[in-house]
């Protein structure tokens, strides 16, 4: 009985992820490769800017991998969290299918983002590895685990903000600004955190995404220094945010579903 329910739940999430993925592909002018373009283009632009501005070379690891790992993990987090913040309204069109709950949309959206950014990173690592003719990921297991932990944290944060923001609109707005703006500058995308002064670094260490990105880089290159970075901090954020969001979602699902405007039949 429980196994059947789990199997059904997985089937629903897979179906929704499939639908979401196909819709994105059909909307993109370049088809499936178009989905990978956005984060890849960002990495390329930043690389070109660094070359033009002659920014100091990153000594600890390959600069392309350093940039790509930062931006891809950052994009993964923001996309999932923002989608969780706004995902319920988009589910209106499937209001007739009672088997699908709002949470299924959010999980399916996270699965699609994981697929897109995972593929993107895979291609970057493959390209750089082929260019240098050596395997550049030292600990792929840890890298995958951190990738998943960042996605789980994003889902938890987004869902909690959605539910709390449902009651306090300001909270939703603030979280959206923090995710879109503040995290961009505090997640170690444009600078190497170990090279920052201690007091500045201590200020940035509140950010769980910074921990996730730095640990991800460390998983690729074990010599990459990570002073003050902790896996426990990422784990606590992932489980506490997801646990709290599931708890609050369980009590508020009816409220959220009832507030959705009805689609025209």
């Amino acid at each position: 009985m429980i196994l059947d329910s789990i199997r059904l739940q997985i089937g629903i999430v897979r179906a929704l992820a499939f639908r979401d993925q196909r819709e994105r592909i059909s909307k993109s002018p370049f088809g499936a490769p178009g989905l990978l373009l956005e984060p890849l283009l960002f990495v390329v632009i930043i690389l070109i800017l660094r070359l033009l501005l002659r920014v100091r070379e990153i000594e600890f690891m390959n600069p392309v991998l350093w940039l790509a790992s930062g931006f891809v993990v950052y994009y993964l987090f923001t996309k999932i969290a923002i989608k969780a913040l706004t995902g319920i309204a988009r589910s209106q069109r499937l209001a007739d299918l009672r088997r699908i709950r709002p949470l299924d949309f959010l999980i399916a959206g996270a699965v699609v983002e994981l697929q897109i950014y995972g593929t993107c990173l895979f291609f970057v690592v493959l390209a750089v590895s082929l260019f240098q003719w050596q395997i550049l990921v030292a600990d792929p297991g840890a890298a995958v685990l951190l990738f998943l932990l960042v996605a789980v944290t994003a889902l938890g944060v987004g869902l909690t903000s959605l539910i709390v923001g449902h009651r306090f609109k300001v909270f939703k707005f603030v979280v959206e600004v923090v995710i879109k703006q503040l995290l961009l500058w505090t997640s170690g995308l444009f600078y190497v955190p170990p090279m920052l002064p201690d007091n500045a670094r201590a200020l940035l260490l509140w950010n769980p995404l910074l921990h996730g990105i730095e640990l991800f880089r460390h998983a690729m290159q074990p010599t990459y220094p990570i002073p003050g970075i902790s896996l426990s901090y990422v784990l606590i954020w992932a489980f506490v945010s997801l646990g709290f969001s599931m708890l609050s979602y369980g009590n508020n699902e009816q409220l959220l579903a009832a507030d959705e405007p009805r689609a025209e039949s």
Partner: protein
Amino acid sequence: MTGLSALTPRTRLRHGHRTKPPTLVRLDQVSLRDPLGKAVLHDFSFRIRAGERWQVAADDKRSALALLQCVADVQQPHSGTATIRGHVSWPMGQLSGLSPLLSSADNFRFFAGVYGQRGHIKAEQELLRSLCNFDQKIWIRPYKKLPQTLKQRFQLALGLVFDFDLYVFDPGAYAPLLRQGCWDDHWQAILEQRIRERAVITIAGDRLGIAERCQRCLVIRDGRLVDKGRVAQGRTSMPAAPRLRPRSRRRPTL
């Protein structure tokens, strides 16, 4: 005929003649208003058990449609409680989950992921294609590019492909198919096989003959349930409310 193995019911009704079949849907003092605020259902209570077939005779079609939406859990009641325990279909013909960007094949794949039976997906797909009569070119064309008639056919066929404990029919949705002359013996045979042993709720006066197979009737007047019970033999035609069999009076026990 292909895909007929998809018509095998997932579960069979198993209950002794002494025990009552399980309740699939239960409405308790449900009230519902239309977007303009007018009450379409008022203090409505009833239940549907597995295998029961109900037709709804209402003076206002909006009340009947609102009831179907409540039963299918598409519409939340404004007051009262609707408890849905079974595997209930969407109101057939009111489906809004089809993506216009996806092809019929992809839309089917999505629905099969949500409602399909494990191990029967291929048979369900064959059944759907045989009902719609789609060739490969149409099958992979984006849904938004299909002519309206094909869209309607696909949408209605999709409802008959999956196995539910309770089928919620809006016969009005099938009217275009009847007008186009697409409703042939194949459709009728699939419909009859599909609803065999299954609970059904439909609006009285349909031209598919579903209401004729319903043994029970709900009569709604001004949004209120004025009568419910078994339909008397030989009097099932609508739109007038059918004559209901008088309820048996209990003998006083000593």
